[in-house]
């Protein structure tokens, strides 16, 4: 039934490995970018707050496909930015990570911002009474507590990101969805089997993420 897997014609594990790599690089990037954005969004400088708010609202409401296509058609093919990638494959991968990071960062920022709201007011007030600056209040007192409160929402963002990496197929990154498209065309008689294999792959990727981070969220939650 699943004999199309034995032919050696398709690099199934390789494709899913690219999906995992896309997820990990974009997750790291968007965690950093999202934290910076959240910091800017609650900063005392009105201009910077405004910039972060506009960025988040614009990017969040743009289709991810448009961002990734924009990276490929706009940045790379028109403006000649390759992000240091030597081959077409390498450049495509990096552009996809860039697009995914820009997009997912907004969701991380919003999750963190709601996490900041869960930290009791007294914490920041006490920190200010000690004479800590805004940056110190944020990085030493508020963010560490906020992060512990948003593990579960961030897990959801990570799961969504894992699924969103398939959009990279639109610019030809050889990840799972692109291989699935190819296999559906070649193995038309085994359509349901092909779909089952890829669906299983994604369940395997997302289920442990949810369980592990769900457990971590409970363990790390601040007891109040």
């Amino acid at each position: 039934m699943f004999d199309f897997l034995d032919s050696g014609q398709y690099d199934l594990l390789g494709a899913f490995w690219v999906t995992v790599q896309l997820t990990l690089y974009s997750a790291a990037g968007s965690l950093i970018w999202g934290t910076v954005l959240a910091g800017i969004r609650v900063s005392p400088v009105p201009l910077m707050r405004g910039f972060a708010a506009v960025y988040v609202n614009v990017v969040r409401n743009t289709p991810l496909t448009a961002l990734i296509l924009g990276c490929s058609l706009g940045l790379s093919q028109t403006l000649g930015i390759t992000l240091g990638g030597d081959t077409f494959k390498e450049t495509g991968f990096r552009l996809a990570v860039l697009g995914l990071t820009a997009y997912t960062g907004t969701f991380v920022c919003e999750a963190l911002r709601s996490g900041i709201n869960t930290v009791p007011v007294g914490q920041a007030e006490a920190a200010r009474a000690l004479g800590l600056s805004f940056f110190q209040v944020l990085t030493l007192i508020v963010l560490p507590q906020a992060f512990r409160a948003v593990i579960a929402p961030l897990a959801n963002v990570l799961i969504a990101l894992t699924k969103n990496t398939t959009v990279a197929a639109a610019i030809g990154v050889a990840e799972a969805a692109l291989l699935m498209k190819e296999m559906i065309e070649n193995e038309a008689q085994a359509l349901f089997e092909v779909f089952a294999v890829f669906a299983f792959g994604f369940v395997v990727l997302t289920l442990p993420t949810g369980l592990l981070l769900g457990w971590a969220a409970k363990r790390m939650a601040v007891k109040r």
Partner: protein, 294 residues
């Protein structure tokens, strides 16, 4: 809360904030200048690349407006089909009978774990092999199928959350006056849950509209984003066309998202209702993967 993070600026802090603002403007200006310079080098800022969007009405009538209508069409059809299906699944998951609850739960969890793009690809291949849908409208069928399969399961979770957000007393009162389970659901719980989940449903529509763009990029559905290729083929203005199209998407989606949070605010304040709301933020958590989270 955010204002608790820093003191109200005094004279010193005000000066410091002005300096930060100035530095930020300079940095932003430099980045913009670099980007614009790069674009100017590749002739993406030339007047004739942008003027079609203002002077040439045909760009709007042949590309942008039909594209936007196709996007809205796929989105609305998907929403209209997914809504009753999702309601059915959502109620099924709350059933007292395990033989209904468990299989429905499995279906919902399965389709929430799979990327929409894969569902669209699967739908497309399904229509090629097992139906006589003509190839011109096949992309629409495939896009709507993918969107319905995914969003019905998300809506199922929204419906479930909506019903569960209602106070326990509603069910108790219905039971006390002798209503059967079906009556309780139809006359007491659902009508209130529909109001409670309205903000979440509107914000889900934004997700659907954004996802239609996938159909344009991968299945050749003629929606708004795919029009950028056609416009730039005529005017060789890749970047301007992408920017204009992204702006259209942002305008529509931002409008929908703002109305969702406006609705949420109104419902939370309203004194008539039970105060049960499935908010925008909860909807985005429900939209992804695992129920086991949190």
């Amino acid at each position: 809360m955010s204002t608790v993070l820093y003191d109200t600026p005094g004279p010193k802090a005000k000066v410091r904030n002005w300096i930060y603002s100035a530095v930020f403007i300079v940095l932003l200006g430099l980045a913009l200048w670099w980007a614009l310079g790069l674009m100017a080098d590749k002739h993406q800022l030339d007047g004739d690349k942008w003027s079609p969007f203002v002077t040439d009405g045909q760009v709007w009538t042949t590309f942008l407006i039909p594209g936007l209508l196709e996007t809205l069409k796929a989105g609305v059809i998907a929403m209209v089909i997914a809504l009753p299906l999702g309601a059915l699944f959502g109620i099924g998951r709350l059933s007292d009978h395990a033989w209904v609850r468990v299989p429905v739960g499995a279906v919902v969890e399965f389709f929430r774990a799979i990327p929409v793009l894969m569902l669209m690809l699967f739908g497309s291949a399904l229509y090629v092999q097992y139906s006589s849908v003509e190839s011109e409208i096949r992309p629409l069928y495939a896009v709507v199928t993918g969107l319905v399969l995914y969003n019905a399961s998300v809506i199922a979770e929204i419906v479930r959350a909506g019903i569960q957000s209602l106070p326990r007393g509603q069910t108790d009162a219905a039971k006390a006056i002798g209503m059967r389970k079906g009556q309780t659901m139809a006359y007491v719980l659902l009508p209130q849950a529909v109001t409670a989940m309205l903000p979440a449903l509107v914000s889900q529509l934004v997700v659907i509209l954004k996802d239609t763009a996938l159909g344009g990029a991968v299945l050749g559905y003629g929606e708004l984003l795919s029009m950028s290729r056609q416009i730039s083929a005529n005017y060789s203005n890749t970047i301007p066309s992408l920017i204009v199209i992204a702006a259209l998407f942002v305008a529509v989606n931002y409008g929908l998202a703002s109305s969702a949070s406006w609705l949420e605010g109104r419902l939370r304040q309203s004194k008539k209702s039970t105060g049960a709301v499935v908010g925008v933020a909860e909807a985005s958590d429900l939209a992804t993967g695992n129920n086991s989270v949190g």
